[in-house]
């Protein structure tokens, strides 16, 4: 079980089919969990409520970045000392939580970033691997942050880091923006091996590889218009 000051933030959009399983798997590991239902049209909020976690609801869909920022702000208001971002679709393994949190709780890092390429992937298609590798290259060139996995939603932040990082990218470019912020704020970061599990359902709902072009566009425009 994580320390009392740890809050796990989950952004969920139309995840009623998978969220229950994710929360059940997470329950033995985390005391404070907040699900931000990002304007879902299904029973995502009801599933979260039934699981006995905090539930916040965006009246309209604003994107994963916006939902995470909402959850992070709420967690900080509730006194969170550490914030973990976690995917709703069950791709992340809660068993990785202690290792991810360790450097942040120990104070040796402000941000611990999960890396599937240092850890393990289950069922990742080759096309996704190539796109993610390209994203890593892009991040190293544009954001100048040396990471092995640029778009992993499993990360742990200290309170100070979570407070300082302002996610302005409402949609999927938030992952790159967080890395930009890590560099801009000169935060100490460390990569931690984690497991990412792909299933047919998560691949069907998840990001299309073509969306990477849109993410690059959003990121570049976002940089111009602060």
């Amino acid at each position: 079980m994580t320390p009392p000051g740890v809050w796990v933030v989950i952004a969920a959009y139309n995840e009623s089919a998978r969220l229950g399983g994710t929360l059940a798997e997470l329950a033995p590991h985390a005391r404070n969990v907040v699900v931000v239902d990002d304007g879902s049209r299904d029973d995502t909020a009801a599933v979260a409520r039934a699981a006995g976690v905090w539930v916040l609801r965006h009246p309209i869909n604003r994107g994963q970045g916006a939902a995470l920022q909402t959850g992070i702000r709420f967690a900080l208001q509730q006194g969170a000392e550490f914030v973990v971002t976690f995917d709703a679709d069950g791709q992340h393994d809660p068993a990785d939580l202690p290792a991810l949190l360790a450097p942040v709780v120990a104070g040796t890092a402000d941000a611990a970033l999960g890396s599937r390429f240092l850890g393990r992937t289950v069922g990742m298609p080759t096309s996704r691997r190539l796109v993610l590798k390209a994203a890593v290259l892009f991040t190293r060139v544009v954001s100048q942050v040396r990471v092995t996995d640029a778009h992993n939603g499993f990360r742990a932040l200290s309170r100070a880091a979570a407070d300082a990082i302002g996610i302005r990218q409402d949609r999927m470019a938030h992952a790159s923006e967080i890395l930009d912020e890590v560099r801009r704020l000169n935060l100490r970061y460390v990569e931690v091996p984690v497991t990412i599990r792909y299933t047919a359902a998560t691949l069907a709902k998840g990001q299309s590889s073509w969306n990477s072009i849109r993410i690059v566009w959003q990121l570049l425009v976002g940089r111009v218009m602060k």
């Binding site: 006995g52 905090w54 539930v55 916040l56 009246p59 604003r62 909402t70 702000r73 709420f74 208001q77």
Partner: protein, 121 residues
């Protein structure tokens, strides 16, 4: 002056006067208001004295007056597209901020946990 020139200059002068008259009530920034006044004035002068544009074209090395209009229209179009995009982005951010405020205000706690202090008044 041809009939077209008289009509066009009259309309542009009316637009310019209207902008001056409503100066204090316009929601636009000072810069944008000035830019709009300049656009009306430039259009009126160009229509009233077409030879002037040819002089400008020669000065800029473009050659044809029509090309000056074409280039300015293209540049203006790009500027308008960028301006509208940024306005749209700012609006999106404001919507997100409002959405976030509502979501946090109406947070639902787990069973047995009291409502958060930021709850609805």
């Amino acid at each position: 002056m041809t009939l077209f020139q008289i009509a066009a200059v009259t309309v542009l002068a009316a637009l310019l006067l209207r902008d001056v008259w409503r100066w204090g009530r316009s929601p636009l920034t000072h810069g944008l208001r000035l830019l709009r006044l300049a656009a009306w004035a430039a259009a009126a002068v160009t229509i009233a004295e077409p030879g002037l544009l040819q002089v400008v074209a020669n000065l800029l090395g473009i050659g044809r007056a029509a090309d000056v209009v074409l280039y300015l229209t293209a540049l203006g179009g790009l500027w308008v597209a960028f301006y509208l995009y940024t306005r749209c982005l700012r609006l999106e951010r404001e919507i997100t901020a409002l959405t976030r405020h509502l979501a946090i205000r109406d947070a639902t706690p787990p069973a047995g946990v009291p409502e958060p202090s930021s709850g609805r008044k």
